[in-house]
Symmetry: D2
Subunit: 311 residues, 4 copies
C-alpha cells in the first residue's frame, strides 16, 4: 500500500483512525518560508468534526505539532514532519459489528486485499486520514499564496442544509456536490500529455473518500455544447496547461455509508444478517470536504509549480 | 515535459502530429505473452480517422511496427518499442494560420510555457498523440484478457449521430459523452489512500485531450441519493479497491475546437483578428475516443495489477 | 530536498540532528509480519554512540516508538511511522563556531544550496540521520530473514583499533573500510540495465555520509585479472541479477572531518581563520557504520524483492 | 524489467543486441537547444567497435536518427526519440552454443529470472545496450556544456595496451580501470540524504555492464588517511552536494567474460561440458567504456541540474 502523493512536493501520510496518531511528512518544500503550528491549525479546525449540527459530534481536538523541517520559524528545505495525536480512540461502538462488513464501506475489499481488517473503523480508508492531507496542504497553499497570490475556495454546492437535517432525522444520509474555485493559479502549470492539470486535479479529488465524479469548467455540460459556443468561454487550462485564469471544478460525493438505519450485511464467513451501526456519523460526508478539496488542489498545483520551474 | 505513464507498466510516448513518426516504449511488460503487429493494428484501425462520415477524412494508414521486446512471437520482458510512421505530414493547411492562436486550442498556452509553438498542428497536444496510447494499451488489454478475462468496452453515449451531422453541415462541432464498461476486472486492485482505482481512472481519462468530466458508478447522480439507497447498489470499487464487479464510467468531451466557421483569434503580438481553420476535422472529437478510453483504462488496470501482486 | 528511498518499499526519513526528533515512514511493507519496538531497538542499540572507547561519548538513548502500521503485533500493510526523540539537543559546543564552515563538512555546500545553515550541527547531512535508516532497515531485514533466510553482516575491515586509538590521542581521526556480506540473498533480484543489484547497492552505500568508494566481489582487484581466471569465481550477481550466492561488498569511509586539532577555516563572508571544534566526535566514523551498511543493503534487497514478484 | 533512468531528465532505452534496432526516448529535455544527428553521431563513433586493434572487429556503423522532439534544428521540450538500426544481426556464432550458459555472462541469471533466454547474444544485458545511453547522454552533455561549461573526460587508467595485446594473443581477456574527470560541474547539485551526487554517480557507473568498483576523490585510499590530512584536499562534493570543483572518479571493470579459450560451462538441464565461444570479442571491455562513463555522468548531472532548479 502506498500513501505518497506528488513527484517533487511529496507528501507521505500515515496513521490509522483509531491508532496513536496521524501524520504527514512533507518532502520537497522549498526553504525560507515562514510557517507555524498556528497557521496549519486553522485549516485543521475547519475540517474538525463537532462544529455544527451538520457534522458528527465525535470530539477530536486535532492539535498539530511540527517535529522537523522548521528552524527559527522558517522552513529549511528539509522534510517537515507533522503529527496529530488521536484522542478519541475508544472503539466500543465498533466492537459490536467487528465481524460484519459495513455496507457501502471498504471493509470487505480491504479484508480481501490485505488479508486483514482493522475493525476499529476503516483504518487507512477512514475519512480521518484526510486530516494529514489538510495539514500538508496548508503548507502548499501558504507557499502558492505568497509566491503567486493563488487562492483556493471550496463550498457545498447547494442549499441542502434542509435535506441534510431531514436525512439525519431519518437515521439516513445524503450525498452532495462540492464546488472549488482556484483564483489566480500560477501560469504554465501542467503538461500536454499525461500530466495535464485537469488530469492531476481529477486524480487528487477522486482520491478523497466517497467521491464519484469530477468536472472542470463546463464539465458534462460541455458535452452538449457546440464548438462555436465553447470556444468563446474563458477557461483556465488549454491542452492541460494553466493560463492564469481561474479554474472551477465540481466534485460529487456519495452519501455517507454509515447510517443508523438497520441494514443487510455480510460477514467474513459469507453469512448475511442485519446490522445497526452505532455511534455518531456525518449525515453528509461532503460537509467537511471543502477544506480537503482545497488542500488537495494546493498539493497538485504546488507539485506542478515545482515541476514547471525545473524545465 | 513528461510523457511517461505508469509506475510498473510504464509507457513512454513520443512523436509530433506532423513529424516523422509516433511511438511508444512499453517498459515493464511481463515476459511470455504472445503478441503480434496484427493484434495491435486492429485497435489502431478502430481509432483511425476517415472511416465514417462522422470522422475527418485525413488519411492515416497508421501501420504499427514492433522494433524490440518480442522474440519468436512472444514478449521477452524487455522494453517493447512500437513505431507508427506519419504519412500525411503536409502542413499546408496550417501555414495560413501559423501566426495565430486557434481558439479553444493549446496553441497559446503551449507557446507561453515552452517559448515555442509547433505551428504544424498541435505538436504533443494534438489528438494524434493518442495513437501511441492505443498501441501500448492493446498490449495491456491482451494481458488482462488472458490473465483475468477482463474486457474493456466503450461507446458514444447517445444517439447523437444526427446532431453530429448537423454540426458538420453548419461548419461547427459538438461535444459528447463516452461510456466505458470494464467487465471482469481483476479483484483487489487499487489502494485506499491516494492510488484509488477511481482516482487513477479519473486521471487517465482526464488526460485524453478535450475531456471535461469523469464519473464512476452513479457519478453526479449519487450526490442526490440517500445512503440507504446507495448502499444497496452493486459497485465495482470500495475504498478505492476493486472487488471484481464490473466498473462503469462516463467521460465528457467538449466540442472539437477546430471548426470551419470564422472565429475571432489572437496572435503572438496580442493582435486580434478573424481566422478560418481549413482542413478536415472531426465534428465530434468523441467519435474516435472510445478505443482511446478503453486503452487508457487497460493501462491503469495493468499497472495496478502489477502493483497488486508485488505486496 | 528529497529524503525518500525506494520504489515499492519506500522509506521517507525526517529530522535534524538537533531538532525534536528523528523518524521514518515505511510505506509499502507487506501485511502480516510480526514486528515490535524491541526488535527494532536492538539494531538502534548497535548503532548508538557511547558504547565503546572507539565512539563518541555523546549520550543518545535512541528509543524507538511505532506510531502506526502495526496492529495486534503485526504489520497491517499501512505506513509504519517510527519516531526516535532527540534527548541531547544542547548545541552549546556549536555556538562558538556557528559562523564558520567546518573543514571537510557539508556546511558551506549546504549554505550555498539552501541559502541557510543549521549551525546546530549538520542538519540533515549529519550522521545522526542514519538512525532512521537503521530503524526502517530493521523491518526489511526481518522480512527477508523470515521469507528467504537472508542474513546481513558487516564489520570493520581491519585490525585498526590501534590506529583509531592513536588518532584519538592525537586529536585527529582516521578512515576505514567496512565489509558487508549478504548471505542467502533472494534469487532473481535486480535487472540487467539500470537497476542492477550492484548499482543499487552502490547507490545505497555511497549515500551513507563520508563514503568514498564501493566494491562488489573482487572490486578493483578484478581490473587486474584475466577472464579465464575471473570466470571461475563464484559471484552473487550476473548481469545485475542475483543468483542466490552470497554477495560481498566493501565500502571506503573517509576520516571523520570533525577533529580537535586547530584547523584553517572559511566563514560566510569569505574570511579565513583558525577554528577548533569542541565536543566529542568519533575518531573513526566507520566504527558505527556496519549496522548502517547492513540496513541500507536490506532496504535495497527488500525493494528489489517486491519488484521481482511484480513482473 | 525497467530500462528508465532519471527523475526529471528521463531516458528510456530499448532494443536487443540482435534485434532490429536500438533506441532511446529522452523525456524532459528543455526546449530551445540546438541539436543534430551529426552531433550525437560523433559520440557513437567513439563508442563503436572495430576502430583499433584493441577492440572487436564486429562491424556496426551505428547511425543515429532523430525521430521526434527536434523542430527546425532545436529541441522543442517534447520527447526526443533516437533510433540506431542494427546491421550486423547474424547470430551464426551464437547458434553453436545456444544451449549453453556462457561463463561469466548473465545467461543463466537471465533465464532464471525471465524464464527465457535470447541466445542471440545477451539481449538487454549485452554491452550493445549502451549505444542508446551514449546517444541520450550526448544531449545531456551538450546542454551542460552550453549552460555551465561542464566537460566530461574519461580514459583508460594505465598503460595497459601491452597487457591487452598479450591477453588477446592468449585467447584470453583482461580487466581495467577507467578514470573520469568532470570539469566545471554545476554548483549545488545533489542532496544531503539519499540523492547524494556521489551515490547517483556510483549507481550510474555500476549500471554499466562488467563494473565491479567505484571510487570518488581519494576513494579507498581515503580509508587510510587522517582527518587533518583529508580535510585539506580539494573535493568536488561535500555532504553529497557539488561545490563547483572538479570531480574525479575511478571505475573498475572485470575482464570480458567472452574468451576464445575453451571453458567449462553448464546448460539448462544442469549438465556440464566444455564450450568454445566463437566470434570476435573485445579482449578488454573497458577500452570502449570511457565514452559510456562520460555519458552516464552527463545523465546524472543533467537530472540533478533540473532537480536543483526546481526547489
Amino acid at each position: 500500500m502506498s500513501s505518497i502523493f506528488g513527484k517533487l512536493f511529496k507528501v507521505s501520510t500515515w496513521g490509522e483512525s483509531h491508532g496513536k496518531a496521524m501524520g504527514a511528512v512533507v518532502d520537497g518544500c522549498p526553504s525560507g518560508m515562514e510557517i507555524s503550528e498556528e497557521y496549519i491549525q486553522a485549516f485543521l479546525d475547519r475540517r474538525r468534526p463537532g462544529q455544527s449540527l451538520l457534522t458528527t459530534q465525535r470530539k477530536e481536538s486535532d492539535v498539530v505539532k511540527i517535529l522537523s523541517g522548521v528552524f527559527e520559524g522558517k522552513t529549511t528545505g528539509t522534510p517537515i514532519s507533522l503529527i496529530i495525536e488521536n484522542e478519541d480512540h475508544l472503539s466500543a461502538d465498533y466492537e459490536a459489528i467487528k465481524d460484519w462488513y459495513r455496507p457501502g464501506h471498504a471493509d470487505e475489499a480491504y479484508d480481501s486485499k490485505y488479508g486483514f481488517r482493522d475493525y476499529r473503523g476503516g483504518g487507512r480508508s477512514s475519512a480521518r486520514e484526510t486530516v494529514a492531507r489538510v495539514a500538508a496542504g496548508s503548507i502548499a497553499r501558504k507557499f502558492l499564496s505568497e509566491k503567486c497570490g493563488t487562492r483556493f475556495t471550496a463550498w457545498l454546492d447547494e442549499g441542502i442544509e434542509g435535506e441534510i437535517e431531514k436525512a439525519r432525522k431519518d437515521g439516513d444520509s445524503i450525498g452532495a456536490v462540492v464546488c472549488l474555485r482556484i483564483e489566480n493559479p500560477p501560469k504554465n502549470l501542467g503538461e500536454p500529455v499525461f500530466d495535464r492539470t485537469e488530469a492531476l486535479l481529477a486524480m487528487a479529488m477522486m482520491s478523497i473518500p466517497a467521491t464519484k465524479g469530477f468536472e472542470i469548467g463546463e464539465g458534462f455540460n460541455s458535452a452538449k455544447m457546440r464548438g462555436s459556443e465553447h470556444n468563446k468561454l474563458a477557461v483556465g487550462t488549454y491542452g492541460g496547461i494553466t493560463n492564469g485564469e481561474d479554474i472551477f471544478c465540481k466534485i460529487a460525493f456519495k452519501p455517507t455509508p454509515s447510517i443508523s438505519l438497520p441494514q443487510k450485511a455480510k460477514n467474513k464467513n459469507g453469512e448475511t444478517g442485519e446490522i445497526t451501526i452505532k455511534g455518531r456519523h456525518d449525515p453528509c460526508v461532503a460537509v467537511r470536504a471543502p477544506v480537503i478539496a482545497e488542500s488537495m488542489a494546493a498539493l497538485v498545483l504546488m507539485d506542478l509549480w515545482l515541476q514547471s520551474i525545473s524545465g
